[in-house]
Amino acid sequence: MSETIFQIEGINRTFGDDPETLVHALADINLSIKRGEFSALVGPSGSGKSTLLNIMSGLDVPTSGEVILNGKHINSMTGKELSHFRRDHIGFIFQSYNLIPVLSVKENIEYIMVLQGKSEQERAERVSEVLKSVGIEGKENRLPSQLSGGQQQRVAVARAIAADPDIILADEPTANLDSKTGAALIEMMQNLNDDLGKTFIFSTHDQKIMDKAKRLVTLEDGRIQNEEVRS
């Protein structure tokens, strides 16, 4: 049906030089992600979920293997190219919100678009659009510290989708939220996926949350144990 946007081929990631204490965080991972997917990465602690997401975003470098986004190999990019790659293609949602404290809600959301050189008008339109879709209207000029955790994480989602990236990566986006707020956040992400076709991949420990995923990738000891597609 839809095109493949992310292609991960034969990824290995080891930590440490000493053969005795060497950690195989990821071993022989092959994974492809299609546009419009809503995937969850699950597995016990230490199974390699964060490592895989970091490698996909270019924040971490695999020991071997290829990461290809839209036909581009990201392994061989320079620091600046990687910066631009993340800016233009990847949306991030972090576990602990990580909004910029000196910027208002509006400025946090438009930050990436400013880096991209989008016009003020385009940015303003986009900000009110995404604020509506994450359900935080009328708080544009507040600082992050004036919002609750759940609201901050919604702003973080808004920031991640504002510049219309190819994929949104979220490492345990609900870990810092109570289960109700967390469920609501995932529901909201799901709506963004259904209505706007945004591609998400997130890691989680929470059974209720993984139940919402359309595709479930289970990792164990750095290997893909199981893949399950639901409808």
Binding site: N54, G79, K80, N98, Y111
Partner: protein
């Protein structure tokens, strides 16, 4: 956006920012204030010094500078006089005939410098008239009237009204000797400029030396700070040379320059302390924001933009400090340019007595400290800026 963030980051820690700004302001004011004083007191010294004898610029026969020979003279005085009169920069000028002579009185001899001057124009260039202690300032020419230095009067036992015989060699090779009349004696001072001089009028001196020429023209300008410019632009004929006081009094000028350089050390120490304080602040500010900088980098900010933000933060703070600092410095400097700081005991410097120091507001006393503060702030923020650029987003975000 980077600028906006830099600006807001400055105000995150108000107390720390205020403290850093205070250091920058203090450093700037201290530098500006001491430079204003240096400029002021050196300016006073220079005008005092040049008003004794030298003037702001001098014209000679270029050979006279080394030979001091009676033959290496200025022959075209009339033309120079016209040029000087027509120049708007020139306030006053004075022609001089200069040569050595032997003074003889009460059976004693003493080697003296004989100066033929113009009674009317010389006091308009120098403070010679104020230095006269005994007798009166002559006004008639060609009557062999002389004013003598205190040393000469002491050694030869001369009083006002006494006669003095001067012996030398004329320009034509003949023996010059004549009787002169002491009309006045200069004040006694330690290493006074007039100690060994005998001043007479130009006509008497030219008669004595059998010449119609002069050797030196001393010029006073509207502003002493234009001496160099004036000397390069004022045209004198072939064989003559015009030099500003900095060249005429090379030794004095060099001594002052060395003195000024000595001050640089104390300025450097002030700036070093300020720079250390700023470095500390900037480093602290990036260490406590490691995670935030990591996030900025993760979501696509380039390393260069992060560096720029850190540098902008300290430069903005420095510029704000400079604005406040220059207001304070202006208040201080303008007060002390009027009131000065007087010494409990007058200080002598090269035969001049200085009893108070005044500040002088010059562009130099604002610009130089400003450049120093900005550049040293830039310098100490480069290292933290590079550090910020190199932050690894993963490491940064792992620290919670």
């Amino acid at each position: 956006m980077i600028l906006k963030m830099a600006f807001r980051n400055i105000f995150r820690h108000k107390r720390r920012t205020a403290l850093t700004a205070l250091m920058m302001i203090g450093g700037y004011v201290l530098l500006s204030f001491s430079l204003a004083f240096v400029d002021g007191s050196y300016g006073d010294m220079i005008s005092l010094f040049t008003s004794q004898t030298t003037g702001h610029a001098q014209i000679h026969n270029d050979k006279f500078i080394n030979s001091e020979s009676i033959h290496d003279s200025i022959k075209s005085w009339d033309k120079i006089k016209e040029d000087l009169k027509n120049n708007s920069e020139v306030v006053s000028f004075s022609p001089r005939l200069k040569n050595g002579a032997l003074a003889f009185s009460h059976k004693k001899t003493f080697a003296v410098e004989m100066w033929g001057i113009d009674w009317a124009s010389e006091p308009k260039v120098t403070t010679i008239k104020q230095r006269l202690a005994l007798g009166s300032w002559p006004s008639t020419n060609g009557e062999n009237q002389v004013l003598i230095g205190s040393k000469i009067s002491e050694v030869l036992g001369l009083k006002v009204g006494d006669e003095i015989v001067l012996i030398s060699q004329g320009a034509d090779g003949s023996i010059a000797n004549d009787i002169f009349f002491v009309k006045g004696i200069f004040e006694k001072e330690e290493q006074g400029v007039d100690d060994y001089r005998v001043y007479t009028d130009l006509a008497s001196a030219q008669m004595f030396y059998s010449t119609s020429h002069i050797h030196e023209v001393a010029i006073k300008l509207a502003s002493i700070y234009n001496a160099k410019k004036f000397s390069t632009h004022f045209k004198v004929e072939e064989g003559l040379i015009i030099r500003p006081w900095q060249e005429v009094e090379k030794d004095f000028f060099k001594a002052m320059e060395i003195d000024k350089k000595g001050n640089t050390i104390s300025y450097s120490i002030i700036m070093f302390v300020v720079a250390l304080g700023v470095l500390n602040t900037v480093l602290m500010s990036i260490l406590e924001r490691t995670k935030e900088l990591g996030v900025l980098k993760a979501i696509g900010t380039t390393p260069g933009s992060l560096s720029l933000m850190i540098i902008l933060e300290s430069q903005i703070l420095a510029m704000m400090s400079l604005i406040i600092g220059s207001i304070i410095a202006t208040l201080l400097n303008s007060y002390f340019s009027k009131h000065g700081i007087s010494f409990s005991e007058p200080m002598t410097y090269g035969g001049m007595t200085i009893s108070a120091m005044y500040a002088r507001i010059t562009l130099n006393s604002y610009l130089r400290p400003a450049v120093i503060v900005l550049v040293s702030t830039l310098f100490v923020s480069i290292f933290p800026a590079i550090r910020a650029a190199r932050i690894s987003p993963l490491d940064a975000m792992r620290e919670v």
